[in-house]
Amino acid sequence: MSETAHAAHPSTRDYVRIAIFLAVLTAIEVALFYVDEAFDMNGWDGPLLIGLSTIKFVAVVGWFMHLRFEDSFLSRFFGAGFVLAMILYGIVLAAFGAFAIFG
């Protein structure tokens, strides 16, 4: 992300566009949920939903929190916390053999 640092900041119009994008993704998520209810998606709903929420996550962090436009130093901080949490709690859950929620 560092190469985009100090790029032009988004305008109001850009923010609204991103928000619409986020809303659409949320709508797709909810739709996926009902598709899975009606026709069993054989576990494909999991990766799809996680993928969509990851895009939402990145969009909010990158644009609304301006992380795309900040010093890469901050991204590293923030990323470190996120990655560490994923790894540590992933190991804990693995130790319990419990990813039960994903079937």
Binding site: T12, F57, V60, F78
Partner: protein
């Protein structure tokens, strides 16, 4: 060990005039202290919410013949409140944008809108808890799944509530002083970061706990 005796030279600026010592606060990285502090704090919040989410993932299926959250989620309702919180991120960023363009009235409006949307979300959560407890008969102590659900969403709700308090105090400052000064401009950015963070945590909770967790 002779190498460690060498004095590195060249890159340093010459000794500067230190007569004026007014600027006692300076930033070696070029990032404002308060902003760096907020990012550092938020990165530690991943560990905080990560523990609650893992806790729910671990306990979500432990029903013991009582009602667990996944049986009683109201997905349409929660989708709408998730949407509300998502849109509050938009209004928050617009408040920040308005301030950066010097639009004090816009700042006030968007701040208020953010606080309102946050309150709607929070009200929705209170309503959800009320429904779950009185109608669906699932209390904090029903089973580990219920305990984990209420703790996770409750602590997230507490973060939202704190965020609303901060938004309202910013709004109060704008009203009292007729605008946000440079100092409080940074405060608005910090509150914004916090608010967006609470939003991304909800993005994760909505997907993992509600959509994927529902039966």
């Amino acid at each position: 060990m002779a190498d460690t005796f060498e004095i590195e030279e060249g890159a340093d600026a010459p000794e500067h005039d230190t007569g004026d010592d007014h600027h006692v606060v300076h930033e070696s990285t070029g990032i404002d202290n308060r902003k760096l502090g907020m990012w550092v704090f938020l990165s530690s919040e991943f560990m905080f919410f990560g523990a609650f989410i893992s806790n729910y993932l671990l306990y979500g299926n432990r029903d013991f013949d009582s009602v667990v959250p996944r049986d009683i989620y109201d997905i349409p309702f929660t989708s709408i409140s998730s949407f509300v919180l998502l849109m509050s991120s938009l209004t928050m960023v617009l408040a920040h944008h308005a301030l950066s363009t010097g639009d004090q009235n816009g700042t006030k409006t968007w701040l208020m809108a953010t606080a309102l949307l946050g309150s709607v979300f929070l009200g929705g959560q209170v309503f959800e808890f009320y429904e779950f407890i009185t109608v669906k008969d699932m209390t904090l102590t029903s089973n580990p799944a219920a305990s984990a659900f209420y703790m996770l969403t409750g602590f997230h709700g507490a973060h939202v509530a704190i965020g609303i308090l901060m938004l309202l105090s910013l709004f109060g400052i704008t009203r009292r002083q007729g605008g946000l000064s440079e100092k409080h401009g940074m405060n608005l950015e910090l509150v914004g970061l916090y608010w967006h963070f609470v939003d991304i945590i909800w993005i994760v909770i909505f997907t993992i706990v509600y959509l994927l967790g529902a039966a």
